[in-house]
């Protein structure tokens, strides 16, 4: 808790619960609406984007003391978390762009 700063729960809401809720809502709607391969791509991206911040929040690395070895482990973990989040964003954007499948052409007449 930082006196004068945003409450800890606000960070939790914006950084952990918010992405998880968006990912969950997106996954539910995607399951109901979208068929095929793009659904799988979208769900994978949503799962990673929604779960990685929560995983980060919950793991013990978040509270690592600033002595050398735990701090290095913390930095490595944060780089991997950034990598996973970037991959998830790219996946969701790809699904947004390419997932629009053409309507089947109606037969003549």
């Amino acid at each position: 808790m930082i006196p004068g700063g945003p409450p800890e729960v606000a960070h939790l809401l914006v950084g952990v619960i918010g992405p998880a809720a968006v990912a969950l809502a997106g996954a539910v709607v995607a399951l109901r609406r979208s068929p095929g391969v793009w659904r799988t791509v979208l769900l994978t991206g949503l799962a990673v984007a929604g779960l990685v911040p929560a995983l980060w929040w919950l793991v013990s690395l978040m509270n690592s003391s600033l002595t050398f070895v735990p701090y290095v482990a913390y930095l490595c973990a944060s780089v991997l978390v950034s990598l996973a989040e970037l991959g998830a964003l790219a996946t969701v954007v790809t699904a947004a762009l390419l997932g629009r499948e053409p309507e089947p052409t109606r037969p003549p007449g």
């Binding site: 290095v72 944060s78 964003l89 969701v92 954007v93 699904a95 309507e103």
Partner: protein
């Protein structure tokens, strides 16, 4: 500072810059170019979801860069290594640190909104009718 420690911090900071700022901006930029080209190809029928996707990409892609180059970022480091937060001259630095934390929080809100917009465009924008190959009405 221990040189090895400095090297670790330097590499980590650089990696996070590449992943969290350049990478995100590259994904957003590539997505924006693709959606603009695709929107032009499809025509005005895709306008609403194209706009949602572009806004989401802009928020999700530009916010980390805004943070990285913003005036708050140097202040954010003030509290890392045990500065006394409330005594004497430390109070001013502490207030700057708190402002940086608030800025970080609002940027996180904008990123969340951007992510929600991209997800909404991904989920709800699909299934729109595309031009038929025979040139007939979609």
């Amino acid at each position: 500072m221990d040189p090895l420690f400095g090297l670790v911090v330097y590499v980590s900071d650089g990696s996070r810059f590449v992943l969290g700022v350049l990478g995100t901006a590259a994904v957003a930029g590539a997505g924006a170019v693709a959606v603009l080209r695709r929107g032009r190809a499809v025509g005005s029928g895709s306008g609403r979801w194209r706009a949602v996707l572009l806004v989401g990409l802009a928020l999700a892609g530009l916010m980390p860069a805004l943070w990285w180059w913003g005036p708050w970022r140097p202040d954010a480091s003030l509290g890392y290594f045990g500065d006394d937060p409330v005594q004497g001259a430390g109070a001013e630095r502490y207030n700057a640190f708190v402002r940086a934390v608030w800025a970080s929080w609002w940027i996180s809100v904008a990123e969340l909104v951007g992510f929600a917009a991209v997800v909404a465009a991904a989920v709800l924008g699909r299934g729109r009718r595309m031009p038929r190959r025979d040139g007939g009405p979609p």
